[in-house]
């Protein structure tokens, strides 16, 4: 039976986390740690990407191993226009969303004809194609990457070069994307996507052309991920094909699974814990034994494996069970 969604540990924890994220610039100011703000910004941007992946992977059962390509495409949609001195942020966002959506439409139309491992491999292959395409574009730095000398420009008076301003743009974007997907999951469309994951045969017997619905979900996911890429371009000010490598796509999947697939807050938990661990682990290990931090990937991998293998439903599932006790 359904129970109330409120006042469970997970809900309280999620709200506390969002509040913490909302005041991070103030905290980082008080403690004079600009570094925290920078990490938090990265968390926000990657969470947007993880949410877009979670919808097709978690709710839709489409395991895309190529989502980093959309982040890269979005970032280059900032970098290339700025290289040519087109500074309008609206143009960048428009390009990031439409080019990503188009890439998703073309690659999705082909890869969604396959299932399971084949789908994983084909999405990865398409992402590698994008990777090599940007690698070969010497004009835009090739494998040396491209430095973005200034940020996108929106209204006069709003300077997204200011870390706090940029942080809040990312924060508001994240809240909007979370709300968008909240609506999407509960809508008729979302119900069809969930149904197609659960039981494709039945969906077709009911009259749903599941392929069409999946393709639209894939395109929406690509577009949102491309938007995250546009933010990422402004965040790093330096972009390179490495952003699109398949290991990046793999990390994104890890974040989603770590946080708990097919949940509203899973991507937030997943990205946050992934990045915080990544930052802290080397330092903590160095404190225990000087120089040990160099090997941080080993315990990092073990921790991730442990959660994925033994914590059913990831962090979100863990918090759910905490609430049931």
């Amino acid at each position: 039976m359904r129970t109330s969604n409120f006042l469970t540990p997970k809900w309280l924890f999620s709200v506390a986390l969002l509040l913490l994220l909302a005041v991070t610039p103030i905290l980082s100011d008080i403690f004079d740690q600009a570094f925290y703000l920078s990490i938090a910004t990265r968390i926000l941007i990657l969470t947007i990407a993880a949410i877009s992946l979670n919808f097709i992977l978690g709710y839709g059962g489409m395991i895309s191993l190529g989502h980093a390509a959309f982040i890269g495409i979005g970032a280059y949609c900032v970098g290339i226009p700025i290289y040519h001195d087109y500074s309008s942020g609206w143009l960048h966002i428009f390009l990031a969303i439409t080019v990503s959506a188009l890439f998703a439409l073309i690659t999705g139309a082909i890869s969604l004809r396959t299932k399971g491992v084949h789908f994983i491999m084909i999405t990865m292959a398409f992402a590698q194609m994008a990777f090599f395409l940007f690698l070969s574009m010497d004009e835009y730095g090739g494998d040396d990457g491209l430095t973005i000398w200034y940020d996108s420009e929106f209204f006069s008076g709003i300077d997204i070069d200011n870390p706090t301003t940029f942080y809040y743009i990312c924060f508001v974007s994240l809240i909007l994307v979370m709300y968008l997907y909240h609506r999407l999951v509960a809508s008729r469309f979302g119900r069809v996507i969930r149904g197609a994951k659960s039981n494709e045969k039945r969906m077709q017997a009911l009259g749903y052309s599941t392929y069409n619905y999946r393709l639209v979900a894939y395109v929406i996911s690509g577009a949102v991920c491309g938007y995250a890429g546009a933010l990422m371009g402004n965040y790093t000010n330096f972009i390179s094909p490495d952003m699109m490598g398949w290991t990046r796509s793999g990390e994104l999947i890890f974040m989603v699974v770590l946080g708990g697939t097919a949940t509203a807050f899973g991507p937030v938990f997943g990205v946050l814990s992934f990045l915080v661990l990544e930052e802290m682990l080397p330092n903590v290990m160095d404190m225990i034994h000087d120089g040990a931090g160099f090997y941080w990937h080993l315990p990092f991998g073990l921790i991730l494996l442990f959660v994925v293998l033994f914590v059913r439903g990831g962090i979100s599932g863990f918090l759910d069970r905490l609430g049931k006790r």
Partner: protein
């Protein structure tokens, strides 16, 4: 009476196994047409070809006057062919109401609605609730599908098939795995639709078949060896030898 479903010379084999052998069959509008036959006779394979889940190697299928031999499963569903599955095929993580609502939603135009909360659409929920009532599941509307019994899953299968408002139901062993009491309830449920909905009923349970069917076709090794009224089938020597003899 008009013919709703017309099957001519249907043939399908898997490697060496001939699952459907030159099957021809007419189902009249409003008729309950039962298909009986031993395990492995090709009943499920036949249903799959009628609903577009599998395609025949040869032969033709016409529905409502149209040749649908090459039509996809979803296209046939939209024309009014609904099926239930021998092995329960429901959405385990959804409530019973949402299961049926998803079926009702399929009948209500496309589902590219991205914003409105589907769970709070009164018209779809009303339709879904009605279908649940028809199969006696209204009290469990808000229960998750994975939490109800096998018999209730079978009833849910029927409610989902009904919710697309089909012209014809293809029911693949609706009583599969049920106890006699549950079977009896299922017979009563189906009896209520007799005469209103055209049904192709694949069933092992002879009580159910004789209680419901207007006509019966007997399928043995992929081939229809007889099609007749229940009484005539009961007395048919070939059928007795091939099938009823070993059951009775």
């Amino acid at each position: 009476m008009t013919i709703l479903l017309e099957v001519r010379g249907l043939h399908k084999s898997f490697g060496g196994v001939i699952a459907t052998k030159n099957v021809s069959l007419d189902v009249m509008e409003g008729e309950v047409h039962a298909i009986i036959g031993p395990n492995g006779a090709g009943k499920t394979t036949l249903i799959s070809q009628l609903c577009g889940e599998q395609f025949p190697d040869a032969g033709k299928v016409r529905f409502n006057g149209r040749d649908i031999t090459k039509a996809s499963g979803p296209a046939r569903a939209k024309m009014g062919i609904a099926r239930s599955f021998q092995i329960t095929t429901v959405f385990q993580d959804m409530t019973l109401l949402e299961n049926v609502a998803l079926a009702a939603q399929a009948h209500d135009g496309h589902s590219f609605h991205f914003w409105r909360n589907a769970n709070s659409e009164p018209e779809i929920n009303r339709q879904a609730m009605e279908r649940l009532k028809e199969v006696g599941l209204e009290a469990k509307a808000m229960t998750l599908s994975r939490e109800v019994s096998h018999g209730e899953h079978r009833q849910l299968e029927i409610a989902m098939a009904l919710a697309t408002e089909p012209k014809m139901l293809l029911l693949d062993e609706p009583m599969a795995g049920m106890g006699s009491e549950e079977s009896q309830r299922m017979i009563e449920i189906l009896q209520r639709f007799k005469g209103q909905k055209t049904m192709l009923l694949v069933e092992h349970d002879m009580d159910a078949v004789f209680a419901l069917a207007d006509r019966i076709s007997v399928l043995v090794y992929g081939e229809i060896i007889a099609t007749d009224t229940p009484d005539a089938i009961r007395d048919n020597e070939a059928v007795k030898r091939a099938y009823l003899g070993e059951e009775a």
